[in-house]
Amino acid sequence: MPEVITVTQLNTRVKELFSRTAGLSDIWVSGEISGLTKSTSGHYYFVLKDEGSEIRCALFKGSRARIDFEPTENMKVRMFGRVDIYVTRGSYQFIVETMEKSGVGDRYVAFEKLKKKLSDEGLFAESHKRKLPLYPKTIGVVTSQTGAVIHDIITTSESRYTADILLAPAMVQGEGSAESIVAGIELLNKAGVDVIIVGRGGGSIEDLWAFNEEIVARAIYNSKVPVVSAVGHETDFTIADFVADLRAPTPTGAAALILRDKSEMRSEITSYMTRLNRAISSVLDEMQHSFEVLDSRLDPQRGLDALALQRMRIENLSKSADRALVDKMHDMILDFEGLDARLQPSRALDDMENKKEYVEASLERINVGIMTSVREKESELSSYSKQLEGVNPLNVLTRGYSMITGPGGKVLTTIDNVNVGDSVTIHMRDGKAEADIKSKEMKE
């Protein structure tokens, strides 16, 4: 039997397909307004057309309030929004989020003009771009305290190199926002942060406009510390992005560009230690070689003095992780002392070879041991946290169950616990309700 679906299901499928399809949302479309009607509830409906085609459009009341002019018949406009399916009718339309009048003197022209002016002045010059500090102590952030940007930055930096975060709260859209951003950049410069992120989340060109203002561009240019811009979506470019020392595609990206990943840093340290162990092995090889040369003209007392000195220093190595190495070196020296009176170069040489292998194996064990113990701790922790989740009663409530308590707060688990007329409390995931028992019935 082939699958049969309802019309509603079909239209819902198409709606979902549209919402997932890139190029159908967060887009700009230009054309001419035609057949404009306004509903009593404040929504605007019209058709946007060009020479060859047309599309139905809806401008809802909330979006209308953000547009600073009255759309009229035959007006040439540019609109930002998304294509959506109206499931009831099976028709598609463009949902307008914001709208601009087309024509000379609009924001695009202003943008291009300012961009050229600042570029000619050298504000975008590569030679002025500063390198970000590799290990910043404090990251300054200029953005809204209530937006997602600061949260994204805090979350992303959790698993990265530890740096303090200092927010200079700023308005990032609307009147006075450019001044507010400038004040934030200047304040963070005074506070002596190591790097500054200037950003805001995605929005229409109107929303992002503060980042296209000349005073913001100049404040970024004049900042003593490097500035990373993170404005809007990856596809949005603002003047601030051109002036900044580095442009991040998103706020999350900005945090990732500034702070190194901790596990990557740990591997770097480990790789230095591996190189060190290899190098010290080759020093031991050289020693063995020298020993061979000494074969016939060995002065036991001199060798002994030198080794006694080394022993003292090795004994001072106090870190427990390297205790095994120290012990082996120590043993080696004791053995060597025993050779004092009865030195046989060929025997000593064999002995040396054994000791060298021992030291190398010890170094390897130390490194493996450290890594294993870290991994064990990590897996222990993750298993504890899973167990804890399992016994949390709140988890049961979030799955849609409720818990009922009787008078005295006792959880009701059997019909025997409850009498007609009792007041009980129903506990749900996000609150509780009082109820009276009207009747009861025992299950057969």
Binding site: Y161, T162, A163, I165, Y272, M287, L317, S318
Partner: protein, 80 residues
């Protein structure tokens, strides 16, 4: 070496890792005696431990800064 531990304690992560890198390169270049080799190893272990401490124990502060009527105020950043 306890003097060196104290010296390293004051180093930033950046200084420590750079010093560690320098020591590794010196040892790799060869031509040094056992005396210096062991000294390098001792120092490297101290530096490695210090770097790991910074990575494991570093605690960050999250604050906000504001300026009103000429005075700068820094306080904990809290979200509603």
């Amino acid at each position: 070496m306890s003097d060196y531990s104290e010296e390293v304690e004051k180093m930033s992560f950046e200084e420590s890792i750079e010093t560690l890198e320098g020591l590794v390169k010196e040892l790799e270049a060869g031509g040094i005696d056992l005396d210096r080799s062991i000294e390098i190893y001792e120092k490297a272990v101290i530096l490695r431990n210090h770097c790991r401490e910074i990575l494991d124990e570093g605690e960050r502060r999250i604050k906000k800064i504001m300026e009103s009527s000429g005075s700068i105020k820094v306080e904990d950043l809290e979200f509603d």
